[in-house]
Every structure is written in C-alpha cells, then in structure tokens.
C-alpha cells in the first residue's frame, strides 16, 4: 500500500504541478517558478527517501496496477506502474537534473515572451518523463512516449516566430514518429505473444518467457527489431542521428535537459526495460551491439570536425550513447546505468556553460596559441584523412537520408494521387464507404476469400489517403479531411477482420469525430478572417494574431492523431488487438497511417500557425535566422 501511494504520487505530483501551471496568469514569473520548483523539490525529497527505503527493504521490483481504463473481459487497458533499479536510476537522475534546470530557468528565462509556455512545456515534459520511466506495461510506456514526442516538438519550436526552429521541430517530430512505428508493432506482436497486455514484471519470469518465445518462432526476433528501431530513433543512433543537433533550437536549458541529457537516453531505457524480450535472441543482441558500434564510429569523427559548440556536444553524446548500446547488448546493466547518469550530467553542464566557450577558448588561444592544433588524423594517408573530413563535415549525408528514402518517396506517391480532391472524397469515396458498410452487414454476399482480403485492402486505401494528405500543398481543409477519413477506413477495415463489440469502434471514432469537427470549424474561421493567407505552401505564423485559435487547433490536432486526450487513444490500441497475428501487412499499413497521419496533422498546424508571420507591420525574422 505504501508503495502504491508513493509510486502513484511520483506521477500525480508532476501532473498536479503541470495542471496548476496552466492556470497561472501569463506574466507571473515567480508563480511559475514557485510551482515548478516546489513540485520538483517535493518530488526529489520523496524520491530520494523512497529509493533509500526501497534499497534497504531488499530492492525487489514493485508493480502497481494503477487504474483500469477499459476492460471487456478479453481486452484490458491498464495503467500500470513499475519500480526497479532502472526506474530508480532514471527517475532520480531525471528529477535531479530537472530540479537544477527549473531553478536555472527561473532567472534565465526572465522577461522572455514565452515564459509561461516554457514552464508549461517543461512540466509537461517532466510528467511524460516520469510516466515513461515508471511505466509497468507497454500501454503506459507508449502513453508517456507520445507525450515526450509532443513536449519535444513544443520545446524545439519554442521560438515559433522563426523558420528554422519550426522546420526542425517538424523534422524531429517526424523522425520520432517513424520510430513509433517500431513501438506500435512491438506492442501488437507482444499482445499476440502473451494474449494479454503483459506487464514488465511478468517478464522477469525467465522460464515462462523462454517457453513462450520458443513456441512462437520468429516473433521474438520481430519484437526485438521493432524495439531496436524505436530505441535508435529516440536515442539518435544510425540512421536517425542527424536530428539531435538540429533539435538544439530552444533556449539552452531546454536543449540541455532534453537533448543533452534526458530525452536522448530513452532509447537506452527502452532496451533496458525490454531486455527479457530479446535477451535470448542472439541476432537482436548482435544487431544492437553493431548499431551502437557503427554509430559511435561515425558520430565520433563528426563531433571532431564540428565548428559549433552545441553540435559538437550533440555528436559526442551520440557516440557515447552508441557505446551504451554496446553495453546493453552485452547485458551490462549496471555499467549502462552509471554511464547514462554520468553522460547526462556531463552534457547538461557542458551545454549550460557553452556560451562561455568563447571567452574561455579565446583566452586560451591568446596565451597558448599554436596555429592549427595537431590532430591524430594528420598521421593518416592524406586521401583517407581528407575523405573522412569531408564526409564528417557533411554528417555522412545523414540529414538527407530520410528525405531521400522515406519522406521524399511518400511525398511523390502522394502527388500521384493529386486527383483526390474534396469533391472526390465526398462524391466517390464516401459512397464507396457506404457500400463498404452495407457489405459489412451482409458479408455472405461475397465469397470468404474476398472478405478476408478486404481489411488489408481498406488499410492500404486509408494509408494512401494519409499519404495524399501528407503531400497536400494547398488546402488545409482537404488535408484534414483526408486524415480524418482515414480513421473511418481503418475502423471499417478492422471490423471486417473479426466480430467485436461496436462500442470499441465507437471509442475509436468518437474522439476523431468531435475533434475533427472542431478542427474544421477552426479552419473555416481562419479562412473567413484571412482569405489570402490560408494555404499549405508556406509558413504563415498566424499564432501572432490568433494565439487562442492556434491553441485550440493544436489540441484538435492532438486529438485526431490519437493523443491521450480523447478516447481514440484507447481505441487505437483496441483496434490493433483485432489485427491477427499473421496480418503483418495490415498491421504495417495501420501503423504507417497512424504515424504519417500524425505528421500530416502537425504539418498543417505548423504551416498555418507557426513560422515568420506573413504580415510585416511588426519586426519579423529572416528565414535563415
């Protein structure tokens, strides 16, 4: 009971702090810092006390079934918390760093226009952090994981009146989402493996895991690879690495806490947390180790040639995390945890003092000047050294990797679908959908071989609609409509799969309908006011004149993408549970739609509301600043 109370408090206290901070008046600086600092101090004291108590009482992992959000006898959505050594270390390090950063930001952010927004986001981040670290099952972990993604987007785009932060926020968000495909598929596979939403504590039962995996050949490997993708994306390993330096667009303390120390170590966390899943899969272990090694070897020379301080720290940190991956693969949990804590502290401090580097190094040069510092590469053959230099300066083209291989092709595919217009959507696809529903109620009309292929077909169609939305350059309303309609196609697709309670479909669709309707209203309103300036071809920065509308639309965006503010969030999980074990394609299509739908939605928000303001009666930023 004492465990239950205290561990729940580790999530409730941050939640409480976050909610209060939303309601404080905008310019009351000391209010925000008091709430944030007070909350985090309480958390730190209790956490420290609890960790000591827990250590002395045997340090056995604790599992808390916190709250049941849905249960129909077959499927159970449970908010579950878990506390073990990994949790203890991550939570304590994170809390301590957040404690320092809140104090730091109290003065550092003084007079900044986004003071409130900064503290709101910081507290939201901390809430997400605690939730993820304390998660006792995949569902809870994914909840925190999604919140981390959003808080990350908000912190990078903190300077929303400039182009680069906004573009990079979108870029990082997109890469995070790509990683999320891994985690969604891992959850789906895991559900079929265990026939329940397994808690992490059950995975400690070695023999059980071993037998279960042995009877499901291949699925362990599949889960392992999915988790590796998710972990690599979050921890900026290859080929995702280039997002990390680009994320350093917010105020320095937010870069320090997010990208220097805490958020970037979540890939490592995910691997540690799911260790029992792939412990006995040598292929997965080798892959993790090799990925870490490759990342370390590539990030290291990139760090060496960087001429800007923050990117240098970022790549140095990526290289260290690569080594942590190797350590994880070798099963050296304790070493990883020490390494994580040390690296987090070191990079936080290095980033915070980074502006001092000018005075320090200039003075150093002044007194100890040597033209061109000698470096180890000088001993390499010239051709090799120069090639390595150029490659490293170009960051091994990593920044173009996803554009060339993922987003570019998707965009091209979407452009091929230009013919899908609003009219097309209403006059052709809507009737088809109605026919689909009619067929659903009269499945005997068609031979079963056709019926069985319908779900995959519909899933594919939905995915194409999302791709079309992703590449739409003119009408925000059309893009929104496409993403919303995808949810309906998805629901229909899964309905064909097996018979289940309508309630589940309602749970899934309800959130989309409500938020979608508000979304269309927002767009109509904006169109009425700003006839000239509502398209997706450029950034408009309407948040300058319509901050409230922007907020509402942002929440709408979150709602439609299945963020945990509407029941849709649970619905997504429910729907996935009805995808059969052998329907890899359907699962993949739905996961991709889910992910790209989110990107397409955020893209609409970003283009309409963020970036340099389209009107210039006040000072606006140059695009390159």
């Amino acid at each position: 009971m004492i465990h239950q109370l205290i561990i729940s408090a580790f999530v409730l206290v941050p939640l409480f702090g976050f909610v209060i901070s939303l309601f404080l008046p905008k310019h009351w600086e000391s209010g925000f810092s008091a709430v944030a600092f007070g909350m985090i101090s309480i958390q730190l004291i209790f956490l420290t006390g609890y960790v000591i108590y827990w250590l002395f009482s045997g340090s056995t992992p604790v599992n808390i079934a916190e709250m049941e959000l849905y249960n129909d006898g077959i499927y159970r959505f449970l908010l579950d918390f878990y506390f073990d050594t990994i949790t203890a270390v991550y939570l304590w390090v994170g809390t301590f760093i957040t404690f320092l950063i809140t104090r730091y930001s109290r003065f550092y952010m003084h007079l900044e226009a986004g003071y409130k927004r900064f503290f709101n986001t910081l507290l939201f981040f901390y809430l997400a952090y605690s939730l993820t670290v304390l998660a006792g099952n995949f569902e809870t972990l994914f909840l925190g994981w999604e919140m981390l993604g959003i808080s990350s987007f908000l912190l990078i785009a903190f300077y929303r009146e400039r182009y680069l932060p906004v573009r990079n926020a979108l870029k990082v968000f997109s890469i995070y989402r790509i990683g999320d495909i891994g985690i969604i598929l891992a959850m789906w596979a895991s559900h079929h493996l265990w026939h329940e939403n397994i808690t992490f504590i059950k995975l400690l039962d070695g023999p059980l895991v071993a037998t279960q995996l042995a009877t499901h050949g291949g699925i362990g490997l599949f889960i392992g690879i999915c988790l590796l993708v998710a972990a690599a994306a979050k921890s900026a390993q290859l080929p995702f690495s280039s997002w990390l330096p680009r994320a350093m667009e917010g105020p320095t303390p937010s870069s320090a806490i997010f990208y220097g120390s805490l958020s970037v170590h979540f890939g490592v966390f995910l691997l540690l947390r799911t260790y029992p899943f792939w412990e006995h899969e040598p292929t997965v272990r080798v892959m993790i180790g090799l990925l870490g090694l490759a990342t370390a070897l590539i990030a290291y020379p990139i760090a060496r040639v960087q001429s800007t301080i923050k990117t240098q720290i970022a790549y140095a940190s990526i290289a260290q995390i690569g080594i942590m991956f190797i350590e994880v693969a070798l099963g050296l949990e304790t070493l990883v945890l020490i390494h994580f804590a040390g690296n987090a502290f070191l990079r936080t401090y290095q980033l915070l003092v980074s502006p001092s580097v000018v005075a320090y190094l200039i003075r150093d040069t002044f007194y100890n000047f040597r033209s061109r510092k000698p470096s180890i590469e000088d001993t390499f053959p010239k051709k090799l050294a120069y090639s390595l230099y150029v490659l490293s300066l170009k960051e091994w083209n990593l920044d173009h990797f996803f554009n060339a291989w993922v987003f570019g092709p998707v965009k091209q595919l979407g452009r091929k679908l230009q013919f899908i217009s609003m009219n097309y959507l209403l006059l052709i696809l809507l009737p088809v959908y109605v026919i689909g529903i009619v067929v659903y109620f009269h499945q005997t009309w068609l031979p079963s071989s056709i019926i069985s292929s319908i779900p995959t077909l519909l899933g594919f169609l939905g995915m194409l609609l999302v791709f079309r939305a992703f590449s739409e350059r003119t009408s925000p309303a059309l893009a929104l409509a496409l993403v919303v309609s995808n949810h309906f196609w998805t629901a229909l697709a899964v309905s064909f799969n097996e018979t289940f309670d309508y309630l589940q479909t309602e749970i899934y669709i309800s959130g989309v309908i409500v938020t979608g309707a508000i979304g269309f209203w927002c767009l109509r309103y904006l169109r009425k006011k700003e006839r000239q300036h509502v398209d997706l071809s450029q950034y408009h920065g309407h948040v300058y004149e319509y901050p409230k509308l922007a907020l509402v639309y942002f929440l709408v965006t979150l709602g439609i993408m299945g963020f945990p503010i509407t029941p849709t969030f649970i619905g997504v999980d429910l729907l996935f549970s009805h995808i059969h074990e052998d329907q890899y394609f359907l699962a993949a299509f739905l996961a991709i739609s889910y992910v790209f739908g989110g990107i397409a939605l955020i893209r609409i928000y970003v283009r309409l509301f963020l970036g340099p303001h389209i009107k210039n009666y006040h000072a606006t930023a140059l695009k390159t600043s």
Binding site: R103, Y104, Y108
Partner: protein, 830 residues
C-alpha cells in the same frame, strides 16, 4: 544606386561590403551604427530606404507609440509642435488623425530577394535550402578559431584554394555534378562566368549578388569584415568576399544541375526590363511619415525636459572650497550614476568624464600573451605598445571545455567519472555562484602587480614595429591635452583618481561589448594605470608647468578600475603614495565603497529579480552574484536606455538626475574659446556615442533582423559569432536581453558653448558634420551666458524654447528609485 549596364565586379564587391553588417568577431565586438551604409542620407530618408530595400523594421510599432501617447509619455503639445514643424498648419488635424487612428498596415515588401525568387517561381527550386547548409558548413569550418578538434585541413590557404586542396584529395565531395566540378577546378573560371550562367543579364549581376548575399547577411558580413581587418582573427584566414561568393555560385550551379539536369537556363529570360531594381529612389510615403512624426514626438518629449533642466540654474555650488579629491571617469553612461554617488558621499569632491582610454592610444602586450590587444578607440591605429613584465597572473583551466570529453574512450571514462563531478559543480553554480575559469573578469585584464613599460627607453626599441613606451614629449602632450580638454588645469586636489572601467560576466558571448568602448572592448585598467604613472612623472610635470598646468608636488595620481557589473573598484600602484595621501586614500575608499553599494542599489531597480528596497549593502551582494551566475543573461544593463551626451562643465549638470542615460564629457569652454578641444571631443563623441546609441536603436526596433534576437538559444559558431541552433546564419547586432528596457531614442548631444563657435567646430570636420547635418544624432547648444538653447537643424542653429514649465525637484531619490523600474524623467537633485 543607378543600375549600370556594364558590370564592375570590384565596385560591386565594395558596395556589398558596405551594405552588409559590419560586425567584427565576438572578441572584438565594438558598437557601431547598424545602418552605417545609409549615413550619407538624412536619418528618416535613410531608414525608409533601408526598410524598403532590405525589409528592416526601422521604427517602433505604431501601437507602441500610441500606447506611450495615452500614458502621457509622449507629450501631446510636443506632438503638435512636431507636426507643426513638418506640415502646414492646416494639415495638423489630418496628420494627428492619421497618427492616432490609422489602422495598422503592412510595410511594402522588401526589394531584396525578388530577383532570386524567380528560381522558385519558374523552376520550383528553393536554392537557399539546397545551398546554405553546405555553404555554412564549409565557411564555418574554415574560419573556426578553435572549437573543432580536427580543424580544416588546409586553412592556411585562401578559402577557394583550401577547398580545392580538400576536394582534390577526397573521395567524397560537396559538389555532386560534373559541371560544377569542372567549373570549380578550372583555374580560368571567373565569378563573371558563373554569374553569366546563373543570371545571364550583365546589368542584373549586381542585384543578383545583393539578393544572394542578403539571404544570409550574417556570414557575408563576417567574411567582408575579416577581409578588411584580418587581424580580428588570432588564427589567420585569408578569406575574401569574392571567394565566398564564388563558392556560393558554384554551389548554386551544382544544385541546379542536380535538380534540373540540362533543363535549366539562366534567369535572363524571366527578367522583364521593367523588373524592379534594388536601391532605387524612395518615394514619399504616408506610412513612413506617420512613424517619423511619432518618433520625433517621442524623442522631443524627453529632450525637452533635458534642455529645460540644463537651463535651470543649479543650487548652491561653492566653487571656492578646495576639493578633497578629483576623479576622472570614462564618458560612458554607466559612469553617469557612479559619479553622482561619489559626489553625494564626498560632496567636496569633483568628478570628470572623458573617453576612457585617457588620451593614450596604444597596444597592450600582456606577459605570456601571444598577441597584443588594442586598448584605444577602434578606428585609431596606435604607434605604441605597452609591455607587461613580472606578471603573476595565471588562468585556471576547466576540464569541461576539454576535447577529451568528446572522444570515444576519453568520453567513456570521463562521463563515468567527471560526469558526476559536473552534477555537483552545476548544483553549486546554481545555488551558490562563485568565480570560475569560465567567467570573464575585468580584473583579469592586467596583473596589478606586474610592471608596465610606460617610458620609452630607446625609440628604436620596437616590438612588432611599434615603439615600446612613450617618450617624454609624447607623455607631456597627451597629458596636457587630456587635462585641458576636461578643464582641469588648476586647483589640483591632493589625490587625482583616473578610473577606467570594465565588466564581468559568465556565459556571455557578447562580453566584449560590455567593456570600455573607448578601449576597443577591453577593460580600461592599463590605460588608467599608465595615465596615472605619467601624471606622477616629475619630468612630465616640469614640462606641463611650462605650458601653464601647475601640478603641486603634494598632488598624486592614482589609477583604478571600476567593474561596472559587480560595482567594485581596484586601485593601482598605491605604494608610491605619500603617507598623508595614503591616509586620505583610505578615507576616500570608504566613501567609494558606499557609493558603489548605492550605485548597485540604483541599478538593481532594473533587475526585476532583485528586491531593490533592501539595504544597499545587501543589494550590492546580490548584484555581485549576477556577474558570476551562469543563469543570468543580464549581468548588467550595459548602455541600455542611453539617450544623451552632455558636453560641458560638471557644475552645469551636477544638479540634475539623468537616470544613467547620459554620456558625460567634461569640458570647459572658458579655456577653449576657439573650440580646439571641442573638435577633438565631438570627433570622438559623434561616432562613438552615436554608434552605440544607433546600435541600440536598431537592435531595439528590429531585434529580429538588425538585432541578434533572444540570446537564450544562441549557439557559438567557430568562436567568432553566434547563430540560432545549428543551421542558422550568424546573428549580428545586440541580443534582445541587452535592449529589453531600452527606448529607441536618437542621442541628444548638448554642448555648453556659443552657437557660432560650435557651428564652426562641427563644420571643420566634414565626417563629423554629416552626423549632425543628416540628423543621425541631435545637437543642441546651450549658451553659456544666458542659457538660451539652440537646436541644430540642417545647416544652422535655431533657438529653442522648451515647453516644459519647470523641472521637478526630488527630495528622497532613493525611495523613488526603489519604487519603480521604469525610465524616470529629469529631476532636480540639488
């Protein structure tokens, strides 16, 4: 600029270099007029032109002016008078209506960038996106002064030659297409060739280059500055704007080839003859006109009280009494308040203001330093060097800046060991800030116990071509000019302090801008100490006596340094003081300490995170901590709120409270009837104070394009500049944290002298004259006999009657100061 049919590359490069931001690398940061390129035009015309062409915002928001008007901070009578000065009287209500109620409208779209946007329009290609990333990577790696652990391999060569060497010997390349590579490696390729490929029409080359370079003014400006003053880099790079542009054109061609293959041509076909040119004539615009009127009304609402204050006779100043000490400070606006407190706590003292290099232009060569630093105004080229010896100053190291933390194994070992140490250090620096090796301290500029080579032993004894120390003649001349220009030629007190200033901060990339501007962004300690040693020199005094300046034997000079951030002072060479003076100095130190504490308290009212109603000592302790706090983006306010420069005897303004907004230069017209020294003062004051003032003005009104934006996300690039994040252009101008509380007013310079003399003086130097004639600074002359004010307009002085009725006296200044953080009006304090 008329558009030429033929293309003169050299001329165009000069022109570009002229319009681009002229900000030096961070370590040499010196304030200057951000829009100096437009200075040949009158202020309002110039800013309109800058705005129409480059998209700068050049005035405050119209809403802001209206808000101030409704708060009575813009005086409505003044507003009427300003409109009346510029518009026929029957149009008064029309304009007033416009000013107060015209709906807010957009400024015209800037002309720069129009030509180059044709790429996007006709080829659907965003060249900036394709080119900037590699361009910035290359130039930043090449210019880097020590951040990269593995530096640019052939950095001793020019940018193009270096890149040639790199590309030739590498399997990987920045250039993807054979056409770009061929052009790049062909030594006969000229920039004109590249422009022909890209633009086609010769008469549009120049415009294209403006478009191209103003897409990233930060980097282009930096390259142009480094070409003009290569000495700004400790690690030399022979870079030129030509090479930089050449590289960009090559990258553009590469991008076009890559995206469009053979299916692209130069822009020539898409440029109709009537296509807009850049930098053409500006037309009258009501939008700009309304802003202009508002701006002048804002300025005169303040100037008017100042003029009234200067006309108000001062209270009882007994000049007969022998002063206890005299103290020379820098003209800097930050000395405005400390002087007020020194005078308050030592009422029988006299203070003077003059440019803080104390008329001693030289380079300083610290012992163990591998370079010299210039410690005089930036445009001056000194012929002397002062060398330091017997210095015991050593700088501490900080392992967090070490390259080993960035390595694989080093990083692995360090993060598991020192990482935990970082946590403790960070906690300590947040909860109890203290001096660290990372900070910049003005007291570290020079070892107080080192020896300085003030006196030249042998004029042939040179150090890097500069004479070591000053000859007797040189010392006498500069001392004479210094004393005469400030009007201190008799009644010397037993102690004369010469106090330079500097600043301390940590985590501050713009630290050089906080030090003394008259010493090229360094602390003024060496100059103050050298000046005092010269003043104490027997031989110099003997010669001065023959020139009418009789310094009694009992008088001794003491050099010192005021740290304006921490409000601390340090004095030098005290061992030379006679016993009696030693005692006096001890006494004065106590009042200096009190003055410093009160100055800190006054400053703290602007630091909203310090409670300034507390006891002065307590506030002072908190203020000192700011200089050492990692998390403090505003260690001090530097020149923020500056608006005035007052040239005249201290007696004529000592009774006024000017709220730290004034540069104060001492000057006595009685010993300079011809204005000989006045010319020297104005020649320095107009560009220096005017430059500071205008940089603050433009950084305030357009912090996004003319200022550096918020400094919180800044990333240090190559130790030479800052950018936002990783991919941005270098940011020039002042960060928002330096100008938060600044009101954009042009500086008002007032001179106590006869108008006809002042007119003659300013006309004597054409360069100085344009500052006034073109209205970039305002000039008012106060007649010494009847205190009548004369304002300088286009070509002569006109008498000015202030609308302010009287200046209010304030009895409890301390309470008033503690009660508000706003700008305060002029008050009578004595």
């Amino acid at each position: 600029m008329a558009h030429r049919v033929s293309f003169d590359l050299e001329q165009t490069l000069l022109e570009l270099g002229h319009y681009l931001p002229a900000q030096a690398p961070l370590k040499d940061f010196v304030h200057h007029n951000t829009l100096h390129a437009f200075q040949s035009l009158t202020f309002h015309k110039a800013v309109q032109k800058a705005s129409e062409n480059f998209g700068y915002t050049v005035y405050w928001n119209i809403d802001k002016y209206r808000e101030l008007y409704h708060q009575n901070k813009i005086n409505s009578d003044i507003l009427d008078r300003v409109i009346g000065d510029h518009k026929p009287s029957q149009e008064l209500s029309y304009w007033k209506n416009l000013l107060l109620d015209l709906p807010v409208e957009d400024f015209p779209q800037p002309k720069v960038g129009l030509l180059r946007s044709l790429w996007k329009k006709h080829y659907n290609i965003n060249l900036d996106k394709e080119v900037h990333q590699n361009l910035f990577r290359i130039v930043s790696a090449y210019l880097d002064q020590g951040i990269a652990i593995w530096g640019f391999p052939s950095s001793a060569k020019s940018l193009l030659a270096g890149l040639h060497a790199l590309e030739k010997n590498s399997y990987s390349s920045f250039l993807k297409t054979s056409r770009a590579r061929t052009l790049f490696f062909n030594h006969r390729t000229t920039l004109e060739d590249l422009l022909s490929i890209l633009v086609g029409k010769t008469d549009r080359f120049e415009q294209y280059l403006f478009d191209q370079q103003f897409a990233h003014p930060g980097w282009s400006g930096m390259v142009a500055v480094l070409e003009r003053q290569p000495a700004s880099l400790l690690d030399k790079r022979p870079v030129s704007l030509h090479d930089f542009i050449f590289l960009e054109c090559i990258l553009e061609i590469d991008a076009l080839e890559k995206r469009k293959g053979n299916s692209w041509n130069s822009l020539a076909d898409f440029i109709p003859d009537e296509f807009t040119h850049i930098l053409g004539e500006t037309a009258n615009s009501e939008l700009f006109e309304t802003h202009r009127l508002w701006q002048e009304a804002l300025e005169w609402s303040y100037y008017d009280q100042v003029i009234k204050g200067l006309q108000t006779p001062s209270g009882t100043v007994s000049e007969s009494k022998k002063p206890s000490f005299q103290a020379l400070f820098c003209i800097d606006d930050r000395c405005c308040s400390i002087r007020r407190y020194v005078e308050r706590f030592s009422p029988d003292s006299q203070t003077y203001g003059t440019a803080g290099f104390f008329n001693l232009p030289f380079y300083f060569q610290p012992e163990h330093g591998k370079f010299m630093t210039k410690v005089c105004p930036a445009p001056v080229n000194p012929a002397h060097v002062i060398k330091e010896s017997e210095s015991k100053l050593r700088h501490q190291k900080d392992a967090h800046f070490s390259k080993h933390t960035k390595g694989i194994f080093g990083g692995w070992a360090i993060s598991q060991t020192m990482g935990f140490w970082s946590a403790l250090k960070l906690a300590k620096s947040i909860f109890s800030p203290a001096e660290t090796p990372a900070m910049v301290s003005s007291f570290q500029h020079m070892d107080p116990h080192g020896k300085l080579s003030v006196i030249s032993e042998d004029t042939d004894d040179k150090h890097q071509g500069l004479q070591i120390g000053f000859t007797l003649d040189e010392m006498t001349n500069s001392m004479e000019a210094l004393l005469k220009s400030i009007g201190l030629i008799a009644d010397f007190a037993p102690l004369v302090y010469i106090i330079g200033h500097g600043a301390s901060s940590v985590n501050n990339t713009h630290y050089a801008g906080y030090d003394c501007g008259a010493c090229s962004g360094r602390a003024g300690s060496v100059n103050a100490r050298v000046a005092a040693q010269i003043g104490n020199n027997r031989a110099v005094r003997e010669r001065l006596a023959t020139r009418g300046i009789l310094i009694p034997d009992g008088t001794q000079f003491v050099g010192g340094l005021h740290d304006t951030t921490r409000d601390e002072m340090e004095f030098y060479d005290l061992e030379v003081l006679a016993d009696a003076n030693q005692m006096r100095h001890q006494q004065h130190m106590r009042s200096f300490d009190t003055a410093l504490a009160y100055n800190a308290k006054e400053r703290s009212r602007r630091f909203q995170t310090v409670d300034s109603t507390q006891d002065a000592k307590k506030v002072h302790d908190q203020v000192k901590l700011r200089a050492m706090s990692l998390f403090e983006p505003r260690p001090e306010w530097n020149h923020a709120t500056n608006a005035l420069c007052i040239i005249g005897r201290r007696e004529s303004n000592r009774h006024l409270f000017l709220d730290k907004r004034a540069f104060l230069n001492s000057y006595d017209h009685r010993i300079d009837p011809e204005g000989h020294f006045l010319l020297g003062i104005l020649k320095a004051v107009a560009p220096v104070c005017g430059g500071i003032n205008l940089e603050y003005y433009f950084s305030k009104v357009d912090n996004q394009r003319l200022g550096a934006g918020s400094k919180l996300p800044h990333n240090v690039i190559g130790l030479i500049g800052v950018a936002n994040g990783m991919e941005g252009d270098l940011r020039t101008g002042l960060p928002q944290q330096m100008v938060d509380i600044h009101d954009p007013l042009r500086i008002l310079i007032t001179v106590d002298h006869y108008p006809e003399v002042v007119l003659k003086v300013i006309q004597a130097d054409p360069q100085t004259y344009t500052w006034f004639a073109n209205d970039w600074v305002k000039l008012v002359c106060i007649h010494p006999d009847d205190k009548q004010a004369y304002v300088f307009r286009t070509n002569g002085f006109e008498s000015y009657e202030p609308l302010s009725q009287a200046i209010q006296a304030v009895s409890d200044l301390d309470a008033l100061l503690a009660s508000t953080s706003e700008n305060l009006p002029v008050f009578l304090i004595a």
